[in-house]
Point group: D3
Chain length 315, copies 6
């Protein structure tokens, strides 16, 4: 099997099928058009320039196309870049699919679904359990496919549901340790907190924001979904308003998009777990490619900090 894209060091040659994640046209200083391609396989993504392109090139090398590329890994301002020597579109005979080239969660979709189902099964409050189960069922197609975000963290296929599983494990550890926590409310909050993203985002590939995503946002979307589902299931009771609050408040502050700050214990915990899992994912992604004794690339989502990997961290 071929060595993956990001496993190549600067100076090495590359001969691989890659997926075009995005393609942007520019005008070089000599007046000729060129394309900036973001190319990826399962190991991650890299930037490449395609110089002096014709109009046909422009339409051929578009987002979501698969290409075969021969080239070299170079260092450009401290980041790897791919210098293209040869490029062609993949054909059916090449037998490569987009799914082969996209990063996915480290756990497969069925296992994710099983684990989430198990957590729902453990819930004792019937109202919270029914709302949670019904909403996950309603959106299960997208819920297990979507990324958790466009970029920053868990931005891969099944990233959304994997983020939920990861948070559920933290939630369980916390509820085990602090017995006053309402486990059902916390689990329901964790499972549903980002469900609005299946409406906010366009899909798992070449993800962008929908009109509802731009104008309403996933927080307000999921709150409304809970209301509608509760009505459909004829559930009335304080669980509905409290669950809506927990979801509404999970960004923690007005300036981060929550119209109310957490005013219920489990809302505060949900906010902190969400932050912790996103942070762990961003740090892992950056440090995975950092050698012991060096600093990582800057992480935009963590105030642009660059993290040091200790030289005694031999992993």
């Amino acid at each position: 099997m071929d060595k993956k894209l990001l496993l190549h060091d600067v100076g090495e040659s590359v001969d691989l099928f890659l997926l075009i994640k995005s393609s942007t046209k520019g005008i070089a200083s000599n007046g000729k058009p060129f394309l900036t391609l973001m190319l990826q396989d399962k190991s991650g993504e890299i930037e490449a320039k395609l110089w002096d392109v014709s109009e046909e090139d422009e339409s051929a090398y578009a987002a979501e196309q698969i290409v075969h590329i021969a080239g070299d890994i170079q260092n450009y301002r401290g980041r790897k870049q791919l210098k293209i020597r040869q490029i062609r579109l993949a054909t059916p005979l090449d037998n490569v699919s987009a799914a082969d080239l996209m990063e996915t969660a480290p756990l497969d979709k069925e296992k994710i679904a099983d684990e989430i189902t198990q957590y729902i099964f453990e819930m004792k409050n019937a109202n919270l359990q029914r709302i949670t189960r019904s909403l996950i069922k309603k959106y299960q197609g997208d819920f297990y496919e979507y990324p958790a975000a466009m970029r920053h963290h868990h931005e891969f296929v099944s990233g959304l549901s994997f983020h939920v599983v990861s948070m559920l494990r933290l939630a369980k550890a916390i509820a085990d340790q602090y017995p006053s926590v309402n486990r059902d409310l916390l689990y329901a909050g964790v499972i549903l907190h980002d469900l609005g993203k299946v409406i906010e985002l366009s899909g798992p590939v070449s993800t962008s924001y929908t009109l509802e995503g731009n104008l309403i946002g996933h927080i307000s979307i999921v709150v409304e979904e809970v209301s509608k589902m509760a009505e459909e299931l004829k559930i009335e009771g304080e669980e509905v308003v409290v669950l809506k609050h927990v979801l509404l408040a999970h960004h923690g502050k007005g300036e981060w998009g929550s119209p109310k700050p957490p005013l219920v214990r489990e809302a505060e915990i949900l906010h902190q777990i969400d932050l912790m899992d996103a942070t762990m994912n961003m740090m892992d992604k950056a440090l995975r490619h950092t050698k012991p004794g060096e600093f990582s690339e800057r992480i935009f989502g963590l105030e642009n900090r660059s993290f040091y990997r200790p030289s005694f961290d031999t992993e």
Copy 2:
């Protein structure tokens, strides 16, 4: 007819029926309980202390009761205070009702309703018009009774709908002057923007926050109401998501409670008109009792500023 409460100057005696707006128990430094009463008639409100109260006094002189009081207006740290000489509960024979003593909008309820109806009538976009009309109809009982807020601005009976009328007039002037404005979208936004308050607040008298008000807030409440009404009326179309955005964004910023900033022209205008009408109301209330050549009381809702009334402002 008796001279109203706030028309009395410091040093004058008072002999009036008043409504208890709130009653709070305290312990004096001599160890004896006392009540802090907030008393009102149509001219406004004043604080009074009732010393050395018995347990019967405590339960008798509670919020929403009408009392007859003889006393004197005093100056306490630059604010008027009422020193009670005699107090008794009103009886049916006194023939005084709470409505006689509560501040109301300067326009009567029927006129407000007529004017709002006229604006709805002028809307040309059928989708926006139907949603707006149906929601106002659904909540008309409360909509024409509620205050616009617990304190700060339009905190009187029918304050909510009067605030809407006042903003509609501004909206009309603006739409007349800037022809690119979508008049229907702006009117719908103005009429519905605070409708969630009929669920957020407990009612027109002794107003407090409901559980939904505390945990969800009037912005998210009204957005959900629009969705439900659109579904009920089987209206699908971009008007629904755009109208929801306009309502969602009307506080202008995340830290002021809007999960999205205004991203549609009419959302931005709605935010500015709302601010302007609230500001005018707060300044009017403070300056009404300020003599030319003097500074007003500090206005909490306007960064605690104290406003000067010019001596050439003879009104």
Copy 3:
């Protein structure tokens, strides 16, 4: 008549006289000099690069020159750009003047002057009226020519006085609705609020800041002008200090350049009207070129927001 510059879509050819608004030299990555030209006609402005320029080109194609250009409209990073095929300086025989190519207010200068004069005429407070009239008269040449700002809003010929007219209409609507407003003070504030710009800015074409503009600023400039004029007219009275305050405070906050926040009712209103008219102008300019169903370019002066034009906004 020729189709104006900004009415051309990407891909279309252009053959037009244009005014050079600014011309900046750069060095291309091949080491050769080039010019970045900002070109305009009445429809707006566009950027163009002129590659491999000689020293003669550099001095010829300078700001305020008129040129004839043949070229093509291209898309560069989501913005239109003009690719120059041919360029030459206009000659007297071409019979084109700068005024033919500069954006102007939508109302002509005489109508603006008439309308402002009428508002001054309606003022009843003699002190405020005399100061206002005399100052406008003193600076009438520049006042009716200058833009309201270097960029962001009303950045066109007569933009300053048109901004005033537009705000006066809002001021009138507000004074009609809220009778406690001191109409004379508000009108005087609106008419004079940006008059200091005739000293702060260099002029209506290729506008830049003067030394006084940079070091003192238009707010302090106009306040001093009021003092001098009052002295000249031998007007003494509280109107002078209050009018100075209204002007001083019109940016609303210290961090926005006002050494005092609004402490008089009309100062607060002036600040809000100023904000509203500037906002309307910025949104109009951005949305005018945005198709229904799309988002506008980002607007720097509105926290870099990009506004959505609803698809039902057929205008």
Copy 4:
């Protein structure tokens, strides 16, 4: 056994030995001196006023004294207050010690020590392990006695070491879930992070800040302790500088007292765990005395929020 102090409802009588936590003199509005006593037993603390005190009373009823009090629980501005009927100093014959009346950690000191020792035992990096073990040994007397803070969270006997145990459990759950975490570095950081408090604070009873606490602070204190211990143990290696960084950065931001933000993965995790355990402790303390369906007292350390305890939270 007597019913504890905070288990009494408003209206009930109290007849108990209590510890004076603090005693402050005031002058009543009748010109006579009084004492504000903060009284506590293991269930928590309550305020009481002692009116018309003599100079002897003043010196007798001082902090750290034990008193016997007969009185009544009252409601004062929404908080419980104790109205004293009788008060006297405890005598040796009463056989009551301060330790009987002070709140302690829910786990006893020996169990805490055993658990921390076990975590140290599991560390594999010899340098980190030796520094950690030696420092805990050096300060073990105070480390197992001190509170974690003067107020806000874990402000009780053994609060410091109990906070560490609680965080170690979280750290273990996180390290189990995210395998890239350097477990030794994280454990060392957790165990030592607040050790500087044994120098910053005066002791477990009537806790105040020492001069070093005020001028240097526990963060800089512990960093220096690590340096000195490493030198004493002749440990040189990157572990020392990285461990110092992890401790230095554990408040997360400059404005919260850390001269460097977390730049190592385990530093960031430590910061988040510390926040989480402190938050849980503050919410628990406030909600423990809140009935289902009601809002708690405001929590100063959580932006003054008041938390709602759901009515379905029957626990």
Copy 5:
């Protein structure tokens, strides 16, 4: 000679003539009126309560009156308070004047004037020198009498001019050390920077803000004074606009009241010297009454910090 007011320790008796700085009426919790008096002599000021006052007392014991008081120094919440045993108004026979009881600058008025005159004499730029000299001459009566502020720093008779002298000495030391400094511009800035206070404040005793002070502020006032003086002296030249800028910018930032930040070297220096001298004055005032080894009272103007006086600071 009598021991001054603030030299008395808690517990000592006092028998002194004092000046009433301010007198505020309150209502005690027993319903009876009392006065809060701020009393001063040259050593500083102290608070006292006068209980159960009649209407005659109220008008007698007003601000600016001199009284004879016998009483005791007490400790109230960590601050000294004066408990009044006897009080009477001073009579002409007592032969005490307000000037005997007010704090003044540590340098007498004539010496201050001589020193400032000397600095003006050393200025070489004729334009700057003439403006500075003429303005000081114009306002010399008030300039040498006024305090530099209502509270916080140099709030005593001649405080304004003493603050200027103190800053001039710093300015000289700085100009000696950094030869690129324009000494004339810096001296002119220092001498004039707070001159607007003679119009902003009401006077040296019972100081309050004038209408111009409230609505315009001392910064804009002095800038206008410079313009008028330059016109009167027929001085035209860049010195005028630059000097106005230096004065305008001396608060350093918009949020601190300067409409422009310092954009000229000497403006930045003036801002820093002003800050330094004010800081020194506030720290001196607080630490003068603090014993070695103790913390001072909190200083409002220095972010409410409490400063430690080292025990080795034997002075």
Copy 6:
């Protein structure tokens, strides 16, 4: 002697030995590598591009190399740039050393050392004097060689110790004027405040941050050095903790890197002097190359302000 680098105007030719301060590789838009060189002599530094470089060029023209260059000064976006015509590495025969080309303090190293020694000699408190003298002695090699920072201010050879001398002179002037200042504590604070930079930074040439610099920072480093030295010298006493505080607090605020704000008079003064000397150095550097009547380049360290040099500032 040759005319220095920065004394050449745009358009002039250059024929000089220069030191490469940094060298960064880029990829031109034609796909070929180039180097961005930062070149310097004693007059300052300038940027230059070297196009189409081979791999040999890349390794030859590296940081810290001396080159001989013939070229032309050009204007690029308002900054000078050097266009290279010829370049070669210097050889031993050229007889040029790095020291000949690096900027150094305006005072030579021996004079700096003498002056600092004199200040230490004047200190009367034996504890403070011994700690200060011993630490300067311990690090004297680096202390008199290092710059005070990587960029922004005093970023030249001996910049650190020259910054100290400059601040000592200010400290002396201040202590002379305000007699309450503890001169010994202030001198010790000034001399030691940035000593941690000899560990934080890599050295006087091609300066970068060390691991300790990045993770611990010079403030915590120097505080620990004081502790160790005091222990070594067996000095115990409040001087140690107070001196540590003064150093810890010298950045003034948490967000600027000080874990404690200044809580001792001399700590506050040290902070202000440090700021003043850094500000003077940054303004001088920018204005030195600015002609009278023009604005300087923007100064990053002073909120990106551009300073005006008055036309009457003939210096």
